[in-house]
């Protein structure tokens, strides 16, 4: 094992995604601190055009084949196992994403390598690496000293600046050989399913009233809708609200939902689990109301109120209506 860093690149619909640049920026910082090089694994089909976007890396390990066009955990894990062998990394950086999460645990078990998930900070301390990870829905942080062997680290999206990883340059290219997966390909991609058409595109609405588990039942949703209407905005929600079918899927904010950057994000009864925060961290003004003073939502909010949302909603709706005449 050398002191190299290997980033697993992700791309969607022909573009390298932000998480890749976030990881490359962090990877460059770590490679510099450890005195190793920075590699990136790029798997897909017709991806040669994406290589220059990965110029933050010294080496691109690439496999360009029809069966890798879209992500399937089985085939990608097999090729990445080879890339890890060639790059000899101290750390493999993945996104804590739809792609990265599957690979993290599959590779950890197949290659017998340790792994950590939900990493929000990763730093060197006296030549060793310490990862800070969120657990219990963001209510606790765990500092983990990474073992002295190749370790897989899945990083939460939005934790490191993407700009640091955006370097356009032609790095060295290493072509990964075809790997004969022992039991053969056991999985195939069939098609993309588009998001369902929505009544409202919440990524374009400047004012969002967001509800979480604290709204308690479908019967209470109209109260939030009334406030959203008074503000001239729309209602959206966190995963539990969508899973209970209190709001349609098109209104989901967070991992596998929408990422919003609204002018106002009023979070009602949302604890602020990492999967949700990922989708709303970029809002310009975040006001959160929650009964738990230690709710992680307060660490991303600009203004916070420790209260029962049902105590605040009626007077707030009244106040807004009064001011808007």
């Amino acid at each position: 094992m050398a002191n190299n860093i290997l980033v697993v690149a992700e791309h969607f619909q022909g573009n390298v995604t932000d998480i890749t640049f976030e990881l490359l920026g962090k990877g460059r910082e770590l490679a510099r601190a450890l005195g190793g090089n920075l590699g990136v694994a790029l798997l897909g089909h017709d991806v040669a055009g994406l290589v220059t976007a990965l110029g933050a890396a010294d080496v691109v390990y690439t496999a360009d084949r029809a069966e890798l066009r879209e992500f399937t955990p089985d085939a990608y894990a097999a090729v990445l196992g080879n890339a890890i062998g060639q790059a000899s990394p101290r750390v493999v950086l993945l996104g804590s994403t739809s792609v990265g999460l599957d690979l993290l645990s599959l590779l950890s078990a197949r290659l017998e390598l340790p792994c950590v998930d939900n990493c929000v900070a990763l730093n060197t301390q006296d030549g060793e690496l310490v990862a800070t990870c969120q657990i219990y829905g963001g209510k606790l942080f765990a500092e983990v000293r990474l073992p002295q062997q190749t370790t897989l680290v899945a990083v939460a999206p939005g934790m490191f600046p993407a700009e640091a990883g955006r370097v356009t340059r032609n790095p060295q290219i290493v072509y990964l050989p075809e790997v004969a997966a022992a039991p053969g390909p056991r999985m195939s991609f069939r098609r993309w399913i588009e998001p369902p058409p929505g009544d409202v595109d919440i990524t374009k609405v400047p004012i969002l009233v967001a509800i979480g588990r604290g709204i308690q039942s479908a019967d209470n949703v109209p109260q939030a809708e009334a406030l959203a209407e008074a503000l001239g905005g729309a209602v959206c929600g966190s995963r539990p609200v969508i899973d209970q079918a209190w709001l349609p899927k098109t209104r989901q904010v967070g991992k596998s939902g929408m990422t919003v950057k609204s002018k106002l994000y009023l979070a009602l009864g949302i604890s602020g689990a990492p999967e949700h925060v990922e989708g709303m961290r970029g809002a310009e003004l975040i006001v959160a109301i929650n009964t738990d003073p230690r709710a992680p939502i307060f660490s991303v909010a600009h203004y916070g109120v420790v209260a029962d949302l049902f105590d605040i909603l009626p007077p707030l709706s009244e106040e807004i209506k009064a001011r808007q005449g």
Binding site: L101, A109, L140, W192, D243
Partner: protein, 256 residues
Amino acid sequence: MKIAVLAKQVPDLVEGVEIDASGKAVDPTSIRYILSELDDHALEQALLLKERSQARVEVFSLETGEARETLFAALAKGADRVVMVQSGQESPPDNHTTAKLFASVLQGSAFELIFTGVRALDDLDGSLGGLLAGYLGLPYVGLVRKVELAGDQGKAIVEKEYPGGYAAELEVELPAVLGIQAAEQPPRYVPVSRLRQVMKTGNVEEQAASLPSAPPLEIERLYKPEEGKGATMLSGSPEEVARQIANILSERRLLR
């Protein structure tokens, strides 16, 4: 068609979680355990397949927390067999250890599908489903929101979630492990009367498994986020708070 569901116990966050004197672990006496929410979705998805295609559903849980209660509830919901895996652990072990335990229990059983929640609150070392698939040499897909069985072809068609509301439809050869993100419908509730009846007449099987030696991650420090760090906290009566919020919106020209 046999489906195994792995049901994990996790701390109930409503009750709060405290850190012990070492500062490196949670205080087990501060925790009330409940079934991991996404494992409940995994069970629901398995029960939906049972209703649609006469699958047999078997639920496995490590003997930690309220596992026995969880297993009785699974029986009451319609599981065909429930098994408590005993390894002498008092609190839930890390996912590598848990995956190795389940791998030893499930190895050689003729399950076509193994379901587990794609993540759990206490995940630090990856997700259980992917680790288990790796140890068993089976294919794995995580973040699954829909599962259909493809007739007699020994395949499942699954939908895997992506950001922005997209999903990928994948065809997976069985046997396979799936990490469930959401069942096709909200998990069903068990009427208390039904649960009581099952607790009298139902059977939770017990199976011993020897604890594998997996070197755990070295946690240096466990800590809570600082209270209210970052946010300016507003206080006062509900009316006062409402006025303060309206003032902030007004200053930012967010009111029409």
